[in-house]
């Protein structure tokens, strides 16, 4: 399945964890890319940073826990995970307690991140 000379994919996550099925879809795409040995990075921006909230409890919603899914990403070699620093600060997120290790980026650094990838998938 994987083509020679795979492209570097950047999955941009804009949706908060339980607001849209696209929140889950973005992580599924990242997992699929990793399963086919394609280099993939994740960038959480805007409301999407809420996916990194620690201690997510969605039992009452009857849907899968995205925090737990996020925590499993490093097991699939998805380790390039970046966060919009401004949005994280806006929501007073404690990134040290996030489900997986991330790197916070300012606007210039995000622009540079986008430049260093071949394809951008915005969810």
């Amino acid at each position: 399945m994987s083509a020679p000379g795979g492209k570097r994919l950047l999955v941009v996550v804009r949706h908060s964890p339980y607001s849209s099925s696209l929140a889950r879809a973005s992580l599924d795409v990242a997992l699929a890319a990793a399963a086919f040995d394609q280099p993939v990075s994740l960038l959480f921006v805007g409301d999407g940073v809420l996916q990194l909230q620690s201690g997510q409890d969605c039992d009452a919603l009857g849907v899968k826990n995205l925090g737990r899914l996020l925590a499993s990403l490093p097991l699939y070699d998805i380790e390039q995970v970046f966060v919009d620093a401004e949005a994280a600060q806006h929501y007073r997120l404690d990134l040290a307690a996030a489900p997986l290790p991330t790197r916070a980026l300012d606007r210039d650094a995000m622009a540079e991140l986008i430049r260093t990838h071949d394809h951008l998938l915005g969810f």
Binding site: M1, S2, A3, G6, K7, L9, R14, S21, L22, A25, D28, V29, A32, A33, A35, F36, Q38, H119, L120, L121, G122, F123
Partner: protein, 130 residues
């Protein structure tokens, strides 16, 4: 240049899905090629053979069917999304004991690997909706 498209917009809301189909035609008319069009989430509704739109509006299905039949463009519906939206081919309808298939035969149901593969082998991946 080789393109792939990712379509996440429903045909029933807004212009985005129709814009995607017109973009695809524009790509071909300018001499480029399309590796694959992958439909995800609400975008899988574009494959519906049973949706009925007002007669005085632009047909939402035919532009896709034309791309497949006239230009051999591959149209893939994400299986996880398709099932949620009731988009079934004959195999899935039988597997889930539903009374009928609901997608147009120009579309194929498959997995996210097809999106990854579509991205890996093209110059441009263009996303519509989301």
């Amino acid at each position: 240049m080789i393109y792939s498209l990712l379509v996440m917009s429903s045909p029933a809301s807004g212009q985005c899905a129709l814009t995607a189909a017109r973009f695809a035609r524009g790509v071909l008319e300018r001499g480029h090629s399309i590796r694959r069009i992958f439909f995800l989430d609400a975008g899988t509704g574009n494959g519906s053979a049973t949706a009925i739109f007002p007669q005085d509006e632009t047909d939402r299905l035919q532009p896709w069917v034309d791309l497949a039949e006239q230009h051999s463009v591959e149209l893939i519906l994400c299986i996880a999304s398709a099932l949620k939206y009731g988009m079934l081919d004959g195999t899935e309808a039988r597997r889930h004991e539903k009374s009928a298939a609901t997608i147009h035969p120009a579309f194929t149901i498959s997995g996210l690997g097809q999106l990854v593969d579509a991205a890996a082998s093209v110059d441009r991946l263009v996303t519509f909706g989301g």
